[in-house]
């Protein structure tokens, strides 16, 4: 009996962690979304009993997701920003991870440390640092003017979508490089050598061997940065502040910050979570299918 429970008990801390820090808070958000607010102080009053849930707020929130309505507009914009930012992260991050895994030798250790350094500084602090850099008389403008690239300071902080997307790329690219590096580093070199032995050029080997083998890594790393990007609101607040660049996270923040409609904020969180859960399901399906294909090929 003791043996039967010995190994599964190792999963207990993780299970407790998951319950306390994920399931309970998630249920709390649901209870707030379908609950009410305190009539005096406007604090949310969660409806813990599903029989007490009220669905009016969710209905009105979903109505705002119809094309042309408020939440539809910010959702489409968010989707576009996240897609472009993930693409940008991959364009920058993949070559870096590839170089680290394949070509960095003596410098590999120091480069890995340098990649981890951004994690030491909080995301918010890194974003705030950009304010100083992107100011009209900031380092970026002064450098570009000095190099003759521009003659007048560029208004990077004037509510430009490009600035928000670049900031998202800057903020999240380290989170993409490390898992991608781990996958690329694990690719069996003999497979690459086999490709070369069969007469493939380095570029052809990359596109026909390395890239397909790192597909799951690309997907995993992309998922890792996509999830927080969808809920991000601070990047837009700091770098732009314009309604033109507002994201769904900004709307959630707006309703949670104050007022009588914190239930609306909680409903938005649920809608976003469901959407992200669908994205995650696709990722899991691809992963499971790839794993099955690998097993089949080995048999």
């Amino acid at each position: 009996m003791t043996r039967r429970w010995f190994w599964p008990s190792f999963a207990l801390p993780g299970a407790v962690w998951l319950v306390l820090l994920f399931l309970v808070p998630t249920y709390a958000v649901v209870a707030v979304a379908f609950g009410t607010v305190d009539p005096i102080f406007q604090n949310p009053v969660p409806a813990w009993n599903p029989l007490d849930w009220q669905f009016d707020t969710m209905r009105s929130v979903l109505a705002e997701f119809e094309p042309g309505h408020t939440f539809w507009i910010v959702s489409v914009r968010t989707l576009a920003y996240v897609a472009l930012s993930v693409a940008g992260c991959l364009l920058i991050g993949y070559p870096v991870a590839y170089y680290l895994a394949r070509h960095a030798r003596r410098t590999k250790g120091i480069l890995l440390v340098l990649l981890i350094v951004p994690f030491w500084v909080s995301y918010l602090m890194r974003m705030l640092a950009w304010i100083g850099l992107l100011f009209p008389d900031g380092l970026v403008n002064r450098t570009l003017i000095h190099l003759g690239v521009i003659s007048q300071p560029v208004g990077w902080l004037d509510g430009r979508p490009s600035s928000v997307i670049l900031a998202l790329i800057y903020g999240y690219v380290p989170y993409l490089i490390l898992p991608l590096y781990a996958v690329l580093d694990r690719i069996d070199r003999s497979v690459l050598e086999a490709g070369r032995d069969l007469g493939a050029s380095p570029i052809r080997t990359f596109f026909h061997v390395t890239l397909p083998l790192s597909r799951n890594g690309i997907l995993a790393a992309s998922v890792l940065i996509t999830l927080p990007m969808f809920g991000d609101y601070y990047t837009n607040d700091v770098i732009s502040g314009s309604p033109h660049t507002s994201m769904i996270g900004n709307q959630i923040n707006l309703y949670f910050q104050g007022g009588t409609q914190k239930t609306v904020g909680a409903c938005l969180v649920i809608v976003l979570s469901v959407f992200l859960a669908l994205l995650m399901s696709y990722y899991l399906w691809v992963t499971v299918r790839a794993s099955a294909e690998t097993k089949e090929s080995l048999l």
Partner: protein
Amino acid sequence: MHPRERPTTRRQFLIRAGMVVGTLSGADLILSACGGSAKSAATTSGTSGVLMGPGGIPLARREHPVTLPLYADNEAIASGLDAEKGPLQLFNWAAYINPATVKKFEKEHNVQVSITTFENEDEAIAKLTSGKASFDVWWTTVDLISRAVAGKLIQPLNHGYLANLKNVWPELQNPYYDQHSRYTVPYTVYTTGIAWRTDKVKKAPADYANPYDILWDSHQYAGKVAVLDDPREALAMALLRRGILDVNTEDPALVNRAQKDLSQLTSIANVKVNTNDYTDIPAGSTYISQAWSGDMAGAPEYLAKGVKPTVLGYWRPDVHSETQSDMIAILRGAKHPVLAHTFLNFMLDNQNGLENFTWNGYIPPLNSIDPDKLVSQGYIPANLSSTVVRQSDFAKGVTIDALTTEGQALWQNAWSTFKAG
């Protein structure tokens, strides 16, 4: 720095309307039956057509002053008590009180003062209602007072300890939101207007037939235009531009039109929404911005070396300007209520009020502070004299007051639509 200069709004409003209890002013309301809290069934408006807030407290308006109710289980402290030894616990917005003024109080009364700050009113309310926080003095706003009273969060004041209340402008010794100053004493007054860079913008607000139009005529300054990240302030400005003086309206047609007007700024000038008026205008990253008077009074401090304050301009209407006051209250659970009264009295002292102003830029409504001298003595540059709030400004101004639950939702949804772009 003014409390509104946070990434969040201060305007948190009254919610569920309450039963009509009593008249708008006059007789004391002893609601001893309310017990633990005053959560009562609600109607939006009372029999007199006045909007009602929580606990059956009418929503204060200039034309409908409110005497806040007293409760049998929440009485003021007795007279003639000795002040406690402290430490006095202050619960305030960040950077809203001069540290030197606090030190002076510590020295004069031989006590320690501890300051805990909050970022927004929701956070403050959450802490105060958690039952775990233990503060003595709290900085609050017109929006929150009746909620704080209905929820018995603050205690009535004993005026026997507040001899300096006589220093306050007569109108604010007996303010419309708290008749007879039962629960609060005023702290600062300020206006909301438009700030601009005189060296970057060709036409000043005064050059327009309707000065608010400077924002709607700012296409050439796209990306350099901002409104305050505060739904009540920004939408109220759009209402005032249309000549609508009821900035507390709950008429959906008016609020939605204000939202549409505000949304035009996004297409005209890619307007930014923030509370960085006091840094962005001096830095030149914003040329035109809706702004608070206190922020602009302090803005010269943020100018780069060698740049003269004359590059800064601030306009607000002579009449019907948005004019607000902030106030201080003593919490019901204060462990040092007598010392807290002493502190309130200290802040109402003429000299202490002036010292505090020189640090935070927001003027205390004290009779002794001569607006003209603030300029002539160099506290405020002459070109920013419009940031000074006079007693007459307050009398002629309009005030952003609390809304009903439905009204809050209306304004918040309009703000959400504007911010969606």
